[in-house]
Point group: C2
């Protein structure tokens, strides 16, 4: 069998993730594998926890990366917190809110879904009414909805949840490392992310944090967590304490990559990283307007790192997307669900969010729109 | 924060995994990340499936790596096959058999555990009696028990299971790539492995295969798989078919690593790889005997890749193990459960299984036993 790896060529990753990876993160992935109980490796793990807490805006001791992709982080939050029959409120305005409802339902939760139109944000008032009407165990929302490019008002919703007995679960897969995440200030009890978006590390890990209130719910469970692999009460014994207890073999080299990716972000400075995302986004929106293209989401709730661009009348979005990949080696994403065929999703995540990348994309798109016209 | 990665130094990994990684696999991990729906990447995925089938001895279409470590593979097999109340028989003679019982129990299975003494193999006769006495939905066994170094008679047990309605589930985490795995010949219906043992790739993925009988049980489920992340009925739509459907973002670079690791094995030749494991094992056993050390497991059911060595009277195993790591940069494993303090676990897995490594270990062990004496 021919070895295909020699032919892998760099692609400018401007889709919904994975994003471009800085050279130092690739180098980190290739550092020598050592044992998962090696004291040197445990020191690396401890540093990762410190860096994640800082980026997530939390002091939670239970802060660590789950050995799976972002969706494994979602699964971990629900499977540790939900017991059969628990009333769960999910706010859904895209694929990932819907996925939360599916995950919780499979675990036997009593799921209510509060839906909002795709491309618009979750509204605070209807949430308020729901919370007044029913005593929820969990309220869940996506901060940055990757399927639409909408930023949901997680802080305002968190303020409402605070007055209830519910645990507040927030998805920050696409936001972490690109815009401010303030877990403790939001009153979030469970939060997860992914490595392949604004952290600019290849996919494979899901940073996660649980508040003391979340840990208390986990500890008070009547039944064992129905998922051995993702049971945080066991995983934490490997990630904390003077004597570490083996649970599963940690993905050593992926953790090297995450560690280096976090160091890169703090070396550049969080505020500078956020500004770089904002600037790239503004450059993109201006360039798209000059091409006569419109954004799906209204300005005040647009995400900088995920841009939903309306496909012009009469243009086959798949033809343009495929030409961008084949002719220009630029990947962008398609619309999902009700937005399939109607939008492109242009990612400006992490290392991708640079002026030269935006300019290269705008040039390529202009050329392909001309071909399509 | 100081960057620790510059100081990571190569360790000779002779524990229960991870094992040493060949340079070409490290290089593969650092190849450019591309999109999970990029046609080039899908071609790599298709090659991985072909290579895995060959190594596992199966023609099963549903053969793919799960996005998690070996324990995620175990979880995937049970969570897809078990429905609440299903009678499950687990054969247990070590940590990983016990873990299977825990995983199945959490999913609501009616679990019977047939226990055998740690360090001895599962026996065929008691299995026969159990199968005659009860109509099991699943029979599960570990091929190579990593906690004791015992090889279980999975072929003979499979022949018994064949006569029943049960699905036969086999753990090959430690065996795959080191000794023959013959999934179809054994009559196994669900099989999983890990990358960090004899495949000599860093930890992070779990190759898995389901027979048509296993897929039929999955398709006939009355309830949804209670685990969104590991639901094979959805995962398969990303791994198979003309049009691939996004499920979760695949761990691209880890899959590059697995692909290269599999290519390395087939380039060397499977039979040669197995012989290299056997030879290293024989060299080790002879060297240990010369030092006056004994093996835990009787010769006819010893694994070549996981050697349980009895700690001599009066020697503190942890002191020797720690000195091997600190002074010689060689990692070996401790005993677990009832074998804690009583054995060392010396791994000869994949790239580690070479005469020069065995010689280096024997010299270092001789020196440290002298220090301890």
């Amino acid at each position: 069998m021919e070895n295909r790896l020699a032919q892998v060529r760099e692609v400018l990753l401007m889709g919904p993730g994975p994003s471009c990876v800085p050279p130092r993160v690739y180098e980190a992935l290739a550092r020598p594998t050592i044992g998962h109980l090696d004291p040197f490796f445990i020191a690396v793990m401890d540093d990762i926890k410190v860096l994640l807490r800082q980026l997530m805006g939390t002091n939670n001791p239970l802060t660590l990366p789950i050995s799976g992709t972002g969706s494994a982080g979602m699964e971990t939050c629900f499977v540790n917190l939900v017991e059969r029959g628990d009333p769960v409120l999910v706010l859904a305005n895209g694929v990932f809110g819907q996925r939360m409802a599916d995950v919780a339902g499979r675990l036997g939760a009593d799921v209510d879904v509060l839906e909002f139109e795709w491309g618009t944000p979750a509204l605070v008032e209807p949430v308020k009414s729901r919370l007044a009407a029913k005593d929820y165990a969990i309220v869940a929302v996506v901060h940055a909805e990757t399927s639409t490019g909408v930023c949901n008002p997680v802080g305002e919703i968190g303020a409402l949840v605070k007055g209830t007995r519910a645990r507040y679960l927030v998805d920050t897969v696409t936001s972490l490392g690109g815009i401010a995440v303030a877990m403790d200030a939001w009153g979030a009890d469970a939060l997860y992310s992914g490595t392949q978006k604004c952290l600019s590390c290849p996919p494979g890990l899901s940073p996660l944090s649980f508040s003391e209130r979340a840990v208390a719910k986990l500890q008070a469970r009547k039944s064992k967590v129905p998922n051995w692999y993702l049971d945080l009460s066991m995983i934490i014994k490997y990630w904390e304490g003077a004597k570490r207890v083996y649970h599963h073999t940690a993905p050593i080299n992926m953790l090297y990559g995450l560690y280096q990716a976090l160091l890169c972000i703090f070396e550049e400075g969080i505020e500078r990283v956020f500004a770089r995302h904002r600037n790239a986004h503004e450059q993109l929106v201006a360039g798209l307007a000059a091409l006569g293209l419109e954004m799906l989401v209204r300005p005040d709730c647009r995400l900088p790192m995920l841009n939903a661009v309306k496909v012009p009348e009469g243009v086959d979005e798949a033809v343009v997307r495929s030409a961008l990949l084949k002719e220009h080696r630029i990947e962008i994403g398609a619309g999902l669900g009700p937005l399939a065929g109607k939008i492109w999703r242009v990612g400006l995540m992490g290392h991708t969010a640079r002026p030269e990348n935006v300019a290269r994309f705008l040039d390529a798109l202009a050329a392909e729109l001309k071909n399509a016209g």
